[in-house]
Symmetry: C2
Subunit: 420 residues, 2 copies
């Protein structure tokens, strides 16, 4: 029995490792088109910053570890160009044929935007090229296209290198959240950090001849699967059930190439993120190896640091909720995150609920590091379909170094109750 995994980063190697743990006899091959496997892509902005001195520090496990310890065959620089489901085989660009009994697509995502000469920061090689450009050419200005996670993170890092940074976004709002409140907190902060934000600006050419960075147009890398007869959904990502099974028997998908169930809308969605990829990979590997496992889905939680500010969200924004047929009502609160004498600073909370049911639909926090813990409280609430009434009385931890008697989350929930 031969399990082949296409993709050697988060989802792919989680899947391969889990399959090995379940079935010591399974033959497992991971096929990766680049030269690098098992590395933490989320660390690339911090390599750009210099906080991560060498890319090697982002390596999680070595190739040798997988091969000798886990008995997983690793094929790098091996690009799959076709998959034949009837023949249960795949073909590499070199012409080599690899047969499989079970196949996991962990092919990730790609940027559909193209500007000749522009940099990217999606792969190990991208990061090396960009860093080398920064060090050798010492550009004085940069244009970033797309206010995605990576766009905002890269803006901070390039600014830290002293560059004049302009961030272009095709839409009105940042981070694809359709959330003017969130945009209204992030953009002034960018301005304070002297990063210029240009909304509703579509970029098709090199904006800064010195350095243009593409951080837009992310798409699921699902063509190979689609050509093999695997179903894809509205956003082009591979359709899977809770067990990461596709419409074809013995074919699975996990990570940024696949859809996942959004527990707030109850419908499949495509929100590519490393942490979700790891979870989906674990489930795909377990099921492919004959085990039982289910991935219940996501609630749309995200977090990033923007010039020292913690920006976190979960669930739906008001606009997203409206287009899902909810009747959203929101409240925003500015509250101190902990006691004044512990230098407690203001944290901003936005909660959105459904007027019909009183159910929490989404939340957004902007503030200090503790916003991470608070957004997680709201993520759990969403996954449990909690109402704002339930939220408002939660037994959250209180001591002056960590919170206020009424936690900012509870203050916001108590406010929102009044509107329901």
């Amino acid at each position: 029995m031969h399990l082949v995994v296409i993709g050697g980063v988060a989802a792919g190697l989680s899947a391969a490792s889990r399959a090995r743990r379940l079935d010591p006899k399974l033959e497992i091959t991971v096929v990766e088109k680049s030269r690098h496997i098992s590395w933490a892509a989320c660390g690339l902005p911090y390599f750009l910053e210099g906080r991560v001195a060498k890319l090697d520090q982002l390596q999680i496990y070595s190739r040798d570890f997988f091969e000798s310890q886990r008995k997983i065959r690793i094929r790098t620089e091996a690009e799959v160009v076709a998959v034949s489901y009837p023949r249960r085989q795949l073909r590499l660009r070199t012409g080599e044929i690899i047969p499989f009994d079970k196949l996991i697509f962990a092919t990730g995502a790609f940027r559909a935007c193209h500007i000749p000469g522009a940099f990217r920061i999606d792969t190990w090689e991208d990061a090396e090229q960009l860093k080398s450009h920064l060090e050798r050419q010492r550009p004085r200005q940069a244009a970033i296209v797309g206010s995605s996670y990576i766009g905002l993170e890269a803006a901070e890092m390039l600014r830290a290198h002293g560059l004049k940074v302009t961030l272009y976004e095709a839409r009105k709002d940042v981070l694809g959240r359709e959330d003017p409140w969130l945009t209204g907190r992030v953009v002034p902060h960018l301005q304070r950090c002297r990063i210029e934000f240009r909304p509703e600006t579509r970029v098709t050419d090199l904006v800064s001849p010195e350095l243009t960075l593409l951080a837009c147009g992310l798409q699921p890398n699902s063509n190979l699967a689609r050509e093999a007869g695997v179903e894809t959904g509205a956003r082009g990502a591979i359709c899977v059930n809770e067990r990461m099974e596709t419409n074809l028997a013995d074919i699975y998908a996990a990570g940024d190439c696949a859809e996942t169930l959004h527990l707030v809308t109850g419908r499949p969605d495509w929100i590519p993120l490393g942490t979700t990829a790891n979870k989906m990979g674990r489930v795909a590997g377990t099921v492919a190896a004959g085990g039982r496992e289910k991935f219940p889905g996501i609630v749309g939680t995200g977090i990033l640091r923007v010039c020292g500010l913690c920006v976190a969200f979960t669930g739906l924004s008001e606009a997203m909720a409206r287009s899902e047929g909810f009747l959203p009502v929101s409240v925003t609160v500015e509250a101190r995150e902990k006691a004044v004498y512990f230098q407690g600073r203001p944290t901003s909370v936005q909660l959105t609920a459904d007027r019909r049911t009183g159910r929490l639909l989404g939340a957004c926090l902007v503030g200090e590091e503790a916003a991470a813990g608070r957004i997680n409280v709201l993520a759990v609430a969403l996954s449990q379909r909690m109402t704002v009434d339930q939220l408002a009385w939660l037994d959250l931890a209180y001591a002056p170094p960590y919170s206020t008697v009424w936690d900012p989350v509870l203050i916001a929930a108590q406010q929102l109750r009044k509107l329901l």
Copy 2:
């Protein structure tokens, strides 16, 4: 209609304020035996430390604010010595009679232990006396009796003043959690901070002639209520329902003097804490003023800083779970709280679940500040009666400055699943 509230701190003033908001015509009187109302008792250790320079900084609202803005009559230095339910009146120590239509007991807790000459740090006056003793006598050693929140916090503060500190505890474990794992993390940390811990040591006399501080024997202050015919529970606290109603019509109780429903055991419990007191007060005030409100209960969440270490817990320890008839099984995990290149340090997680149902029963975290957010995730999980299987796949926020791809909570839950 006259509402009288006995007690002018957290629960009492929350109740009075909420009642006023609901009913602008209600006559409201707050009767407080000390000279001070509306102050943050949780800040006393930080006054001792010096971080809070003056006790006035712990004042939340002034007496004048309540009287002129909220039209609430405030009676300080007014100790109630008897309550007659049939006559709907109470008597002060001065002999003065105050009639009421509705009455809220917010009488708090007191220390049942007595060592003549020992200090306390429970009231404004206690704190003034102790601080003045520290400044004038400059003691070189201190004995603290009881490893409660206040005991542990005071130990840190006295140590910070350069005193040799010994902490005595009658039981084996700290914080009344019957949790050797927690004790095993806290005690070595105390030792690193050069605070000596003496477990299973009952103290009846002054241990340090220079400074002995009582932080043990907390009891609900419910005698007055009991003498008036109000029912009390196993721990001596006033029995209330979700609406903070006692067994007597028009008589309510809230805060440290009252029981509350423990959502994990499903039974009333007595866990006196400021944040719970505020919530109960808000409900008591609403209901006393004719409104509708329910306090669903607590899950036993607590947090404190011990010499810079964040110690947080929620739900039941294994021993507590066993005596509640559960079949507890626990796992402990040491995981990095965020990326290495963000100085992510190890955080320790203990999760306890019920082997029969797979339900989470309790959790404990010891680590950095972010432990606060993580314990809250587990508190929500407890309040929702989540299973460890559900916990293990939560969509928690991930970015290198704030977490790891698998959050420490998820790592622990994934481990615990294997034992169920």
